[in-house]
Amino acid sequence: MTLGQFGTSGALLTSEMTYSTFAVGSSVKAGSRVTLGVDVSYSKAQEEADPLGLAASPEILAKLTGFTYDFSTWHTYVDLNSASWDATARAEARFTPTLSGIVSYTFLEFDDKAAYLTDLSGNLDIVRLALRWAF
């Protein structure tokens, strides 16, 4: 059984995307042997579509039995909403004129507030330790 072909239903799709970023950083020599630094960035992105005015007449829907042309939640499928952090604090201390030590901590996070295909939220903590020899 084929119930029929009744043309198409059309509507204007409107969507709005916004993004914001903020970054701050600083580096300071604390005395003759120690250098401290910090870098922080934050970004946020969002996309939203307006409800879609797709519709089908009751006469057509009466013929297309078993089909539902309900697009009331369709615009939510394309919602995107995410925020991310990238922050690092670091210190370098000079032990001798040629030997220094380095320590840093980095925090990375992606917050998927409106997961679409799959939730991509996650974060990392990274601690680094190193010795540097200059020659």
Binding site: T2, G7, Y19, S26, F71, L120, L124, F135
Partner: protein, 569 residues
């Protein structure tokens, strides 16, 4: 990668022992990593494992040899290495190697599991539901310049570049009825792209001639994935009623899909220039490339020639003209569609063509085949100290060989006018304002590819194969709406301000507004508006302290048309 590190270390030690002047640093350390949740976005291009880290920076200057090594190797396929060698000013060589991971998203396909109406369903199957996808990216680049003292007018260079992409990614195969059943599985990636070539540069007086030839080979050694497709039958009646419209099914066994063919690409360039030819700057250049699919023999040729001329007009003005024309020509390909005959139903023994008169065979001609001419004229005038006015007119005409962007028309003409004003209204303040107006006649769009207001079948019939049932090709042919994502006109304004506040503070602010739309289409409209703002302040009051703060904000509004079919069949 190990070869690279092993070769760097002896070179560094050799230089360190022999060099009269050797400086550098060696950093030995490690990192501890704790991750939580998904790493596909938080660490898309970073390793997530704990392990050692090694850095080496070395510069050695001998009498005739200069050597510089910068090496940064981290656990987890995260490495950058540079090697620079200069020998007696005759040979200059630079080699770099980069390695990094790229994590890829795994789509669980849950949005493709909605039953529409039994037994017709939309469904998906993921054969590797727990797989985490990643492709490691390696890039080796090398260039060596040779310049002999006896022929100082000639420089010859050898260039080499090789890129590898190895790992696994998700692959999707759709069933006969488009997305009724989507199957996902892991696909291996083992690609290599190798470029090797020669570059020569000849100087004679104020003339300079440059030429190059680069040959590229591409290959994916990983086999294409395969799928066993569903049996070709009418899904409700479970009868072989669709054999006249389906080429293959489960009886053919596993069939490959997503095949990536090996290819070759040869690129030749030439450029002749003179910075002062009777007061004019002149540059004439040409490029010719050929890309060939080694499986099919299909080719794409690109040939371009460009001329740029500039001249100073008096003490305040400069004038520049640029022109370029290029062609893209690819092999036509005749697709001879297998046309099996129906084995059941009222039209048994007939092919789809014999039954409906629809010819499925076609000559594939690329939409990219085209002749393009583009030119610009630019006049710059210095108004006073620190201020100037620039006007620029640009046009581009794209004439496609096969693809129509309007009824009977294959060409797109873009004209753009730009005015820019720069000024220094006060000490430490630099302003720039720029406006652009563009008109695009017959912008790129697809004709009659969406929306079909009329009804084709208003009464039910027992089956899609009986007379009176609308066929897909009839639906496609009845569409009247055009679709695009390109404007027919747009305007753009950009403003920037740079401030120098005292000796220690710099600030900048930029604003952008772009507004374009396309009202040339049948039935549908398209428009986009973009605004963006950036601000930054940098403060460095002393050598021991510096700080910065930056922020940006942007917005994009988009309008496009959507059509969905009202049908069952």
């Amino acid at each position: 990668m190990r070869k690279v590190i092993v070769s760097f270390i002896p070179l560094a030690l050799l230089a360190a022992a022999a060099a009269a002047q050797t400086t550098g640093t060696v950093t030995v350390g490690g990192r501890a990593v704790k991750d939580d949740g998904s790493a596909e976005r938080a660490a898309e291009y970073l390793p997530t494992t704990s392990g050692p880290e090694l850095q080496l920076a070395l510069e050695a200057a001998l009498d005739r040899l200069y050597l510089a090594v910068h090496s940064d190797a981290r656990e987890g396929s995260d490495q950058v290495h540079h090697l620079r060698v200069e020998l007696n000013r005759l040979v200059r060589s630079h080699t770099s190697f980069t390695k990094m991971p790229h994590r890829l998203v795994h789509d669980p396909l849950e949005n493709l599991r909605g039953t529409v109406k039994m037994p017709v369903v939309t469904w998906s199957t993921d054969l590797d539901p727990t797989a985490r996808y990643r492709v490691d990216y390696d890039l080796l680049e090398h260039r060596t310049d040779l310049q002999l003292p006896q022929a100082g007018w000639l420089t010859v260079s050898a260039v080499y570049r090789e890129q590898w992409r190895q790992g696994h990614r998700q692959s999707l195969a759709i069933s006969h009825c488009s997305t009724c059943h989507v199957q996902s599985q892991t696909r291996a990636v083992d690609e290599s792209t190798r470029d090797a070539g020669l570059v020569a540069q000849v100087r004679a007086g104020s003339w300079k001639l440059e030429g190059s030839f680069v040959a590229r080979d591409f290959e994916d050694k990983a086999p294409a994935p395969t799928r066993v497709y569903e049996l070709a039958e009418q899904p409700a009646l479970r009868q072989p009623l669709f054999n006249d419209r389906i080429w293959y099914d489960s009886k053919n066994g596993p069939l490959p899909y997503g095949i990536i063919p090996p290819s070759e690409k040869n690129t030749a360039t030439a450029r002749l220039s003179n910075p002062n030819l009777g007061g004019f700057t002149v540059s004439l250049s040409g490029v010719s490339t050929r890309l060939e699919n080694l499986d099919t023999g299909n080719k794409v040729d690109f040939d371009a020639i460009a001329l740029a001329v500039g001249r100073r007009l008096g003490k305040r003005a400069t004038f520049a003209l640029r022109g370029r024309t290029y062609t893209i020509d690819s092999t036509d390909y005749f697709v001879d569609v297998p046309e099996p005959k129906a084995v059941a139903g009222p039209y048994a023994g007939k092919s789809y063509y014999e039954r409906y008169g629809f010819q499925p065979d076609f000559l594939r001609q690329s939409a990219i085949d085209r002749d393009v001419t583009e030119a610009s004229a630019r006049l710059s005038y210095r108004l006073g100290k620190g201020s100037s006015l620039v006007g620029e007119y640009t046009f581009q005409n794209i004439d496609r060989a096969h693809y129509e962007v309007a009824p009977g028309k294959t060409d797109t003409l873009t004209q753009r006018l730009k005015l820019a004003y720069s000024a220094r209204p006060a000490s430490g303040v630099h302003l720039r304002l720029e406006g652009v107006v563009a008109d695009i006649r017959r912008p790129f769009m697809t004709q009659n590819t969406a929306c079909q207001p009329g009804e084709l079948q208003t009464t039910p019939v027992p089956s899609p194969i009986v007379p009176g049932s609308t066929q897909y090709y009839q639906i496609y042919q009845s569409r009247i709406g055009d679709m695009t994502a390109s404007p027919s006109s747009y305007v753009q304004f950009r403003g920037t301000a740079a401030l120098t506040l005292g000796r220690s503070t710099n600030a900048s602010l930029s604003l952008l507004w772009w507004d374009g739309d396309n009202t040339d289409q049948d039935l549908t409209n398209w428009s986009r508006t973009t605004t963006a703002a950036n601000a930054q302040v940098a403060w460095a009051p002393s050598e021991s302290f510096q700080a910065f703060v930056a922020a940006s904000r942007g917005m994009r509004k988009l309008e496009s048309w959507v059509c969905v079919p009202l049908m069952d069949g």
